[in-house]
């Protein structure tokens, strides 16, 4: 250790220096308070031995200045004093850290230096740890901010407003273990998910990212609630540690809002309140929470409930029922039922208000979520079909900003044998937004024209085969057999998509067959003598031409 020895008596200084250097320490010497400060400022010290009574600046004064300048750093100062009254000793301990009687006992001196070297080491450790703590604190805060940004972005995808739904979702800390996801379907139906991860804070909320992403994707794919529950369970079983799970209630309401399909696992009972303000139906949680069961034991069955336009559905997390007040009572289901049957106009606000009135201390609250679904169907004006009407009337801007395009495909025997010759065409066309919105009709027409050309034109099969007993199967067996043996022949298809608005698609299909004698005028939906296919196409298309002499069929599809 570096020890600064301050004493106006040279003999005393030398003696202490001798003893301390013997003990392995390095000493600097000062003969006055002023000189002590000079050396301290220049090279510092680990411990200061300070005589009290010196000419000029005395030891107390010098010590006070050193302590002040050292600030946060601990510098043990041991006073050397011949004074032995209590007041002087109290003074020593209030300014410095210790005292040593004069004449100095060298054994005691060595022992005190050792003791102070220990406190110094401890102190330096604490300072270092504090510095690390402060560093980690800032780092964690920065990381939390980043994480929160990612979470907000991830959840935004699934927090779009849905007609008839109000929700409230507050977190106890920055991160929320509760999750509310909503998704409106194009046909006017909607998906709702309310969930609660075990615990709260960051750990509880990270699970919401895979859940939100998967939920959003599955809603886009129009999956059923049952299938969504199965998939989410699979994801969470894989992601979550064994002690963590996700209590959830999810539902789908149909476009006319007359029916809901619910899967509920681990959340408190949900309630349906009828038009006359009675809880007419309680939805019990029928399953274990998500992320608990293995896939082979997981139950994905759902409940289907009919609802009326006056019905309101309330789903909530246990943050509401288990919300405690100052007396440590819980809000409980009784109070919740009371509010729901109170007949108040706005049950959603009434319930949130009641919980806040019960407990106005945000620190006492768990993550808390409430979703209200009013079952009344949306007014016609906001239905998904509405914009189509607009574009149809808009004759002044007939051009769309998408290019028109033309496709021509030609299948020879080898290509026709492929199990699904139309697949590539569906993939190309399906990536075009205008076609995608009408894909069922477009693909139906393409499949029909192609299959007619192949089956009747190239393979020479007769539809009448299908009418016989077991004919359906025989027809397709025969189709496969003839296709295997096919040596020449072709089907070619042209598709042209206009860039008008609304768009139209022209399809022309021709084949190598001998031609046919059917005329468009003969086709009638109620008469099945030409099969179901052609009359259906005639009804689906705005124009339909059959050119039997050249084995060519042309159809025009209006796309909206």
């Amino acid at each position: 250790m570096n020890i600064l020895v301050v004493d106006d008596d040279m003999y005393s200084r030398q003696l202490m220096g001798f003893v301390l250097e013997e003990g392995g320490h390095k000493c600097e010497f000062a003969e006055s308070g002023e000189q002590a400060l000079e050396i301290w400022r220049k090279q510092g010290a680990d411990v200061v031995l300070m005589d009290v009574l010196m000419p000029g600046m005395n030891g107390y004064e010098a010590a006070r200045i050193i302590k002040e300048e050292a600030g946060q750093d601990h510098i043990p100062i041991v006073f050397l004093t011949a004074l032995d009254d209590d007041r002087a000793l109290v003074e020593c301990l209030s300014i410095g850290d210790d005292f040593l009687g004069k004449p100095v006992n060298f054994v005691t001196l060595q022992a005190k230096i050792r003791a102070h070297s220990r406190t110094l080491a401890l102190n330096r450790q604490v300072v270092e740890q504090n510095r690390e703590l402060a560093y980690f604190h800032t780092k964690v805060q920065a990381e939390h901010e980043m994480t929160q940004h990612i979470m907000t972005a991830a959840l935004k995808l699934s927090a779009k407003d849905v007609y008839g739904v109000r929700y409230h979702c507050t977190a106890r800390s920055t991160f929320n273990g509760d999750l509310v996801l909503l998704k409106e379907k194009r046909d006017g139906g909607a998906y709702v998910l309310v969930g609660d991860f075990t615990g709260h804070g960051l750990a509880a909320s990270v699970g919401s990212i895979p859940v939100a992403q998967a939920f959003s994707t599955m809603c886009e794919r129009n999956l059923s609630v049952s299938e969504i529950s199965l998939e989410l369970n699979k994801i969470l079983k894989r992601f979550l540690p064994p002690t963590m799970f996700f209590a959830a209630c999810m539902l789908e309401i149909n476009p006319t809002r007359s029916k809901i399909e619910v899967w509920a696992g681990g959340l408190p009972d949900a309630f349906i309140v009828s038009g006359d303000n009675k809880i007419r139906r309680t939805i019990h949680s029928a399953h274990m929470p998500l992320g608990v069961m293995d896939m082979d034991e997981f139950e994905s069955w759902t409940e289907v409930i009919s609802v009326t336009p006056q019905d309101r559905l309330y789903i909530y997390t246990d943050g509401i029922t288990e919300c405690p007040n100052i007396a440590n009572e819980m809000f409980g289901e009784e109070r919740l039922r009371e509010v729901l049957e109170s007949g108040k106009d706005n049950l959603f606000d009434a319930l949130i208000g009641a919980v806040h009135e019960f407990n106005d201390d945000p620190d006492l609250q768990d993550d808390l979520s409430l979703v209200e679904l009013k079952c009344a169907p949306p007014p016609e004006s906001i239905c998904a079909d509405a914009p189509d009407q607009e574009t149809k009337d808009d004759e002044t801007s007939p051009k769309s900003n998408l290019p028109e395009f033309h496709l021509e495909l030609h299948w020879g025997p080898d290509q026709l044998r492929d199990s699904d010759p139309l697949m590539i065409l569906r993939q190309w066309l399906g990536s075009h937004a205008v076609v995608r919105n009408n894909k069922e009709v477009v693909f139906m027409v393409l499949a029909e024209l192609f299959n007619n050309a192949l089956e009747h034109g190239v393979l020479g099969l007769s539809s009448s085969l299908k009418d016989e007993e077991e004919g359906f199967d025989r027809y397709y067996q025969e189709r496969g057999a003839r296709l295997q043996k096919l040596e020449d022949g072709y089907v070619s298809l042209q598709a042209h998509l206009s860039n008008t608005r609304p768009a139209r698609m022209m399809v022309r299909v021709s084949d190598s067959g001998p031609g046919f004698s059917i005329k468009v005028e003969d086709l009638d939906c109620n008469d099945e003598s030409f099969g179901r296919g052609l009359p259906l196409i005639k009804a689906l298309c705005s124009e339909f031409e059959l050119d039997g002499e050249n084995s060519t069929v042309k159809a025009l599809i209006e796309l909206d």
Binding site: D187, L223, E440, A447, K466, F472, R532, G533
Partner: protein
Amino acid sequence: MTIETKVTSDGSAVTIYIRGRFDFSVVNQFREAYEAHKQKKHFYIDMRQTEHMDSSALGMLLNMRSYLGSDAVKIEIVNCSPGIRKILEIAKFDKKFAIS
């Protein structure tokens, strides 16, 4: 699996899910699906994930109806996209099946 069959939890009805394409490529799968439950009187055809269909699918539905006995059995086609619905309506299937 493009065709999947599930019996409802109370055992009263069978749901046949058709994923992707509904055309002659699934003719055997589809027939096996309802033949395995021919004693049931209530069927749902779930078209939620049906990407497209052709007229052979219409034939398959009619075959199913005649196999099970059109008077004794109730077949509901559910979760149709607007496009599939349009096709079924034009083919007048709404007269023979319940469509929703």
